[in-house]
Structure formats: C-alpha cells, structure tokens
C-alpha cells in the first residue's frame, strides 16, 4: 500500500494535487465514464484537507479523534477516491476499478458500511443533503463535548437545492462553530454556467445573511486554501463558517478549463493524452501506464 504521510511544503502539496489530477484522468480513461470538470477543479482543496489540515488516521478511518468530512456533491467522487488512495486509505491500484461491477469505487460514493471504501461516512449523489448531515454531526460532537472539526464540500449549482438552506439555517441556529462548509464556486453546472441556469449571486452575501462567517479564497491556490482553512477554524465562536472557494472547472487541463460542458464526461484517449502531457509527471508516480 502506498501510504503518503502529511505533506507540509507548498511544493509537495502542489505536486500531490497534480498527481491527483493525473490519477483522475487515468481513472476516467479506464472507466470511460464519469465526471472530469468538478474533480479536476477540486484537487487542490482535497489535497489541502487530506494532506495537511484534517486530523485523520488512514489506518483507522473511524478513529474517534478524526475530523469528519462529507462530500455533498457525490459526482466529484474521482477526486475523493484518488485523494483517499494517495493518503493510504486503500491501495492506489484499486483506482483502476472506478465504476466497475463488484468494486468499491461506486460512481457516486458509498459508505464503507454499505459496500464503499473506508473514509466515506455516508452516501452522496442525490444533491443537497450534505449540509444537513454535517450539521447533525457537528451537533453530535458538541453534545459529546468533542473538539473534532466537520468539513463539508458543496457545489455552487448544488446550492439551488432547498434542503441546503434548511441545513444552513439549522447550523446557524444551533451555533455549529465546529463546522466548515466549502463551496466549490466554479460558476458551472450541467446545463450551463450557474448565472444562466439560476443565478446564485452573491453566495457570500447569502451565507452572511443566514448568520454564517464567510471567508473567500482562491480554491486553486494552495496557500490561499490553507490560510482560509486556518481562518475558518479560528473563526468566531458560535457561528459556522463558509469558505467560498473560487475554482475553475477542469483546472489544469487547458481545453477543459472553465467549460461547463466538461461537468460530466470523461476524456477520450486523444484528449487524455494531451491532459497527461499538460499535467506533467510527479515524483509520486502513476498508478497505471496506459497505452494511448
């Protein structure tokens, strides 16, 4: 099992994020189905959380002192799987099984309790449910007087789901200051750009109006993400925090960048080849060498 420990330097974190992007491309080339855009855009945030900021034990995913992580947008599963594998929750070899029958890497994440992978606490795929779950976990931890932090990643299009705002109200009302929601503001969703489908501007102002602390970061800049998470954890007592992370869909692959059409499709071999050339190899090494 290739277990990578916590990374501390920005260089290493950036290199790991690039490796995770390569892994995403390779996984999608093998599965020939799945989402490219969102996962690529989120590679930096996942790297920052799993390789630097979150308290975790990959050998013991249910460690009592772990920080809890929920992915409300299950469709970006490839970035989560690649991150978990790279951090040693399971073998990187298993990344070859994305979306394959009898495998654990379901198209949308399944919890280990069902038939998914370690590190996944609860299923997602049907959008809009993560904030409520994260708020419930934050409440449970407070009740037990525990200091674990809870993270939840949401999409910007996903914020159109009504339940998200129910959860936002619950977290604020119950003063879940142990909760950080990260909004992946890539301005894209399936049908079009978010502004065209159903304008959500301004996300920071909406969260503030619901009595949340708001921190804005560049979600494709490692230092900005790390600083944002530090600020979130130190944020005002009694208030949950939202990190609005400006990202680019498809980040790192020139022809995918900022294009909503890359939301839900995998690259073909030709495109994959170009993507893997642009995302240069890293010292961490690939989990597969494909003939393209």
């Amino acid at each position: 099992m290739s277990t990578n420990p916590k990374l501390t330097s920005i260089e290493d974190l950036n290199e790991m994020a690039r490796q995770i992007r390569r892994d995403i491309i390779n996984m999608l080339l093998i599965s020939k189905s799945g989402h490219s855009g969102g996962p690529l855009g989120l590679a930096d945030i996942f790297t920052a959380l799993y390789f630097n900021k979150m308290k975790l034990d990959n050998e013991n995913p249910n460690w009592d002192e772990r920080d809890y992580f929920f992915l409300s947008i299950g469709h970006v599963a490839p970035v989560w799987y690649a991150t978990l594998a790279r951090r040693g929750y399971f073998s990187i070899d298993e990344l070859k099984t994305l979306r394959k029958v009898n495998g654990r890497l379901q198209g949308h994440p399944a919890p280990s309790k069902t038939h998914g992978v370690p590190g996944v606490e609860i299923a997602s795929g049907s959008l809009g449910q993560g904030v409520s779950i994260a708020a419930g976990t934050a409440l449970g931890l407070k009740l037990s007087k525990k200091s674990n932090h809870v993270y939840c990643i949401c999409g910007d299009g996903e914020l159109q789901e009504g339940q998200i705002w129910e959860g936002i109200m619950t977290a604020a009302h119950h003063q879940c200051d142990n909760l950080t929601v990260i909004v992946d503001k890539n301005d894209c969703q399936i049908d079009n750009r978010v502004q065209q489908v159903l304008n959500m501007d301004s996300i920071p102002e909406k969260f503030r109006a619901f009595n949340w602390e708001v921190i804005e970061v560049n979600g494709n800049d490692m230092q900005s993400i790390l600083d944002g998470i530090d600020k979130a954890k130190a944020a005002k007592e009694g208030k949950p925090t939202c990190i609005v992370a400006q990202t680019f869909m498809g980040k790192g692959v020139s022809f995918m960048e900022d294009k909503y059409t890359w939301h839900g499709v995998p690259p073909n071999n030709e495109q994959g080849k170009i993507a893997l050339t642009e995302l240069t190899k890293t010292k961490f090494g690939d989990f597969v060498e494909l003939e393209l």
Binding site: E121, I133, L139, E166
Partner: protein
C-alpha cells in the same frame, strides 16, 4: 386471550412513543430527538422538556431533519426523527433513501397521525402511502404497532438495534389491549385469537377491528383467526404460510392504501410459497377526506363490518 370488547381502555399510541422515549432518555445518554415544529402533536415535547440538551429543533424542514438525524448517527447518537406520517416519509423520501437506508444509519423515524384516522384534517394529512414507501427501501425495518402498549414496547426495543426503523402510529385514543409482558419480537407476528375457517392478518388500528369481527363471526359459527402482523418488514413468512395451510382464506386488514402495504406484503409471500385465496380491507387506491375517524373508517370500508362482509362473501355462509 380475552378482550374487553365492550369497554376497552382507551389510550393514545403516540403517548406510548412519548413514554418509551422518556425511559430511553433516562437510560441512554446517546438518545437524541429531532423536532419539526410539531413536537406537541407527536409528543416529543415531553422529552424536550426533560432533556433539553438532547432535543434539536430544526424547524419546519423535514428533509433537513432526516439529514441532521443521519449526521447525528455518524457520531454514535441514536436519533429519533418524528413528525406526521406523510411529512416523515413522502417529503423526505430521497433523504431517507440515500442518507439513512442506503447508508445504513441508525435513525429511528417515528411517525404519528398516520392513516385515515387523523380524520378532520383531510387528505393532505392522511398518510396512506407511508408503509409502502418505507417498505420498499432496503435495510429498513417497518413496524405498525396496534396499541399503546405495543407502541411503547416497539420504541423501547428498536433502540437496541443499530439500524434504521420506521414506526407508525396514530393521534387518537384507541383500545389498549395487548399484554405488556407477552414476548415481543420484530418480525414475529402474534396470534391473538385462534381460528380455523379464515385468518385475519391485521396491523395497527385494524387489529382491534379484526378482534371485534372475529367475536361477531364466532356467534355465527365462523371461526376466524386473528394475527397481529406488527412488523411489515421483515415479514413473518412462516406464520403467513402456516395460516394459509391451516385456514385457507386469508384477509389482510390495514389502514393504508391497498397497494404496497400489508395486503401486498402478504400476497408476495403467498404467491410464491402457497397460493391461497385472499382478500383485503384497505383504502381502495383513493385519497381520503375530512370526517371523524369512525365516519371515515365506515366510508372507506376499513372496519369490522366490512371484515365480516368479506369473510362471509368468501365462505358463502
């Protein structure tokens, strides 16, 4: 077993839920309860006042309620999410499906004001589909206790299992007649009255109607067995097959749509294991309306008179 048919003790099943919650709350610090602005109606206000730290009001937001419950379960708490039947199942179905059933979260969904008996509130509040839409979910245990005592015991018992439950009960006072000390096990039906001509497999409110029907039929020389099928999922297949073998004719009795509820569940077992003449007492694929409980049970043909009519129709006596 004998029943006080003329003058039964009357008690609210939802009070059985509330009283059991208090016992659980005292015994187990992990028990938590969620409120959806109907805590007086579903009687979780009693728990709230006793254990304010362990009661979480989420407002009128049932989808959020199920998600918050799942999140609490992630931390090892045992959440009871409670509201009216329709709002506990229909509104948050997708949340229950993904975050609770598929994810196998230890959440107890306890729904009051179920069935047509909620009466004057009318069709929007009469949950006649809840059992069907919970029963279809893998990993879900579905229970419809028949009286106060059984609701109390089902609620106490469900906390012992690390898995999701749906427990259905009512608003109004109904006869309370089951033995608090008799064995109670999910998935094990109780035969309340033995009989040889027909088996009435009933649950919830209709168990009492079946008991009355059996008593009246007896006076006419018809021997009706009454089985209380409190757990619809997992269903007690052995008891169903045994009844079919011993009495032939099976009539199911429930306060729910005829589709997807008890009738369907029993038919599923018999069609495979022992095809048997069947009939049902249930709501005929229609929505309800306002009225008193008694008026509606008569109009929608879910009472003891209708049971008797159907038994006689089939036995041609």
């Amino acid at each position: 077993m004998s029943f006080n048919l003329d003058n039964p003790e009357l008690k609210e099943t939802r009070q059985g839920f509330a009283d059991a919650l208090m016992v659980l709350g005292k015994e187990n610090p992990n028990i938590v309860v969620l409120g959806g602005d109907v805590s007086g109606s579903v009687k979780t206000n009693i728990f709230r006042d006793a254990f304010p730290d362990r009661f979480f009001s989420v407002g009128i937001a049932e989808q959020d309620m199920m998600g918050v419950a799942a999140g609490l379960a992630v931390t090892g708490k045992i959440p009871f999410a409670s509201t009216y039947g329709e709002f506990a199942t229909g509104r948050p179905f997708d949340q229950i499906r993904q975050s609770i059933a598929y994810s196998e979260m230890n959440v107890k969904i306890c729904a009051s004001h179920c069935g047509i008996s909620v009466g004057p509130d009318g069709a929007t509040h009469q949950s006649l589909e809840d059992v069907g839409i919970m029963r279809i979910l893998p990993h879900m245990t579905v229970v419809t206790p028949c009286d106060y005592n059984q609701t109390y015991r089902a609620v106490l018992e469900c906390a012992k299992y690390d898995k999701p439950f749906y427990i259905r009960f009512y608003r109004d006072k109904t006869p309370n007649y089951t033995d608090m000390n008799a064995p109670f096990e999910f998935g094990k039906a109780d035969t309340l009255i033995d009989g040889s001509d027909v088996t009435l497999i009933a649950n919830g409110l209709l168990v009492w109607e079946a008991i009355i029907a059996a008593d009246k039929l007896k006076k006419e020389g018809i021997s009706a067995r009454v089985v209380n099928m409190h757990t619809i999922k997992p269903i007690d297949e052995e008891t169903i097959v045994k009844c079919a073998e011993e009495t032939g004719l099976i009539i199911t009795c429930e306060d729910h749509q005829k589709n997807c509820g008890l009738y369907s569940a029993v038919a599923e077992v018999l069609s495979l294991r022992r095809p048997t003449q069947m009939d049902y007492i249930a709501v005929e694929d229609t929505f309800g309306e306002s009225g008193t409980m008694e008026q509606l049970m008569a109009k929608y043909k879910i009472n003891n008179e209708e049971i008797i009519r159907k038994v006689k129709k089939h036995l041609k006596k």
